[in-house]
């Protein structure tokens, strides 16, 4: 049932990414300061925004799970956080490349956004050992939701604390009202944001579809008294 609409969504994602990338390379002007390397901004920043929004979405699903007790929401929350952690790895890698190219170092500590993101990423990286350590599936789902809600509250607080602690050298491209991004760059950036968001949604849907399919297979096997193939993941929730 999760597979429904997956094909058009995937096609839309491919088209959006192809369109956004052609805008990045053929339409957006070269940055006067940084030159070609600035184009990584069009993938780095959307990835970061989508990953952070994904964490918040995971927290919202977790609240729904706690309120309703419906295990489906836990699966949604798990997949959202899982996908955002993967996106987070990409954010840290692209961020390091950009930092190396424009500041000369792979890692810059006095750079609040990068540091905040690392801390948030480390926080969510503990989501997996956390789930893994709790055996009872029902309790695992409940505790994981509590974790997701707590970490969701932690994200904005952490950004605030790190920003207060550091000097402000990060390019704040949207902070200025008129001196920020020129129109063509802004348009390209928004196109990239849409494309990356679509990619996130597609991947989340794909993982849910896969989980639902393997759950159905398991139930069919059980009904036929056939031995289960492989143990499956202990931490990923099952989807009915």
């Amino acid at each position: 049932m999760y597979g429904k609409g997956l094909r058009p969504l995937s096609i839309a994602t491919v088209v959006a990414i192809a369109g956004a990338f052609s805008l990045v390379f053929f339409y957006a002007p070269l940055d006067a300061d940084q030159g070609f390397v600035q184009k990584i901004f069009y993938i780095h920043v959307p990835l970061a925004i989508v990953a952070l929004v994904g964490f918040v979405v995971g927290a919202v699903f977790a609240i729904l799970h706690l309120r309703s007790g419906d295990r489906r929401w836990d699966a949604y929350s798990y997949v959202s956080i899982h996908m955002s952690v993967i996106f987070g790895v990409a954010v840290l890698i692209t961020g390091a490349i950009w930092a190396k190219a424009s500041w000369g170092h792979w890692w810059v500590w006095d750079e609040p956004t990068l540091v905040s993101f690392l801390i948030v990423f480390l926080m969510y990286a503990t989501y997996y050992p956390f789930r893994y350590a709790i055996e009872d599936p029902e309790r695992q789902a409940r505790y994981a939701s509590v974790f997701a809600v707590t970490a969701g509250a932690f994200v904005p607080l952490n950004f605030m604390a790190v920003r207060l602690a550091e000097s402000l050298v990060h390019p704040r491209v949207f902070a200025t009202t008129n001196g920020g991004l020129p129109g063509s760059m802004m348009f390209t950036f928004l196109a990239c944001l849409v494309a990356v968001a679509l990619l996130w949604v597609t991947l989340v849907k794909l993982e849910l579809t896969a989980k639902s399919a393997s759950g159905q297979l398991k139930r069919l096997r059980r009904a036929l008294d056939a031995p289960a193939a492989g143990a499956g993941s202990r931490i990923a929730p099952e989807v009915s």
């Binding site: 801390i119 503990t126 809600v149 509250a153 207060l164």
Partner: protein, 226 residues
């Protein structure tokens, strides 16, 4: 007295009395912190500390000593069936959260009453910073008590509970540590305590405390369902 208040008082009194009689957590925490100071003295090869180094040593030590208390916080409840008793009792489950957080807060305050003077004795030139430092310590203790109780109550139900508590708690208290060290650094600077951005950091600490006390209070019910 409402039933929740009565339960809160009873659990807190039980915890403090048990700690007084068995002395399971506090002496270990104090000993750990003192030994860590000695290790820092040799690790850094400094006989006196000031500024960021002093606040870093103090907060890293206090945080890791606090983890010892956090790990043990719910062990008795789990082993002796205290969780079942709370579930059976017709009381608000948040009473357990409030009582445990208060107990942890008390442990941390007692720990700091012992080890912060030792820290000052070992490393600081004057004790002038201790009075304003107390405000930072109290606010940070409240935050550690809130998050520590929440995480400990989950970790205690897992395999590898001694591992999981610190693992999840450490990233969670990073903002708290940023604010606490930010406030302590000018306090411990050479030439008397300074108050650069002291108010801002106290505000961040209070916000952290408020948010995680509310989160803990809101979600604690779900941790006891079964």
């Amino acid at each position: 007295m409402t039933p929740s208040r009565a339960a809160f008082t009873a659990i807190l009194a039980k915890d403090l009395r048990a700690e007084l009689r068995t002395l399971q957590s506090l002496p270990a925490m104090a000993l750990f912190a003192t030994t860590t100071f000695v290790i820092f003295r040799f690790g850094l090869d400094r006989t006196s500390l000031s500024g960021s180094l002093a606040s870093g040593v103090l907060w890293a030590t206090l945080l890791f000593a606090a983890l010892l208390g956090v790990n043990r916080l719910f062990v008795a409840e789990r082993e002796e069936g205290g969780f079942d008793a709370i579930r059976l009792a017709p009381i608000d489950r948040s009473a357990l959260f409030a009582a445990k957080a208060t107990a942890l807060f008390t442990y941390l305050v007692v720990l700091e009453l012992v080890v912060v003077p030792i820290f000052a004795l070992f490393f600081l030139d004057s004790a002038a910073a201790l009075a304003p430092l107390a405000a930072v310590l109290l606010l940070a203790d409240l935050g550690i008590a809130a998050t520590g109780t929440l995480i400990s109550s989950m970790a205690v139900h897992s395999r590898a509970r001694d591992l999981l508590g610190p693992l999840v708690l450490l990233p969670l208290v990073v903002p708290l540590m940023i604010a606490a060290t930010g406030a302590s650094e000018p306090l411990l600077a050479v030439g008397g305590p300074g108050y650069h951005r002291f108010g801002t950091w106290l505000a961040v600490l209070s916000l952290y405390d408020l948010i995680f006390l509310l989160v803990g209070w809101a979600v604690f019910d779900f941790l006891l369902e079964d």
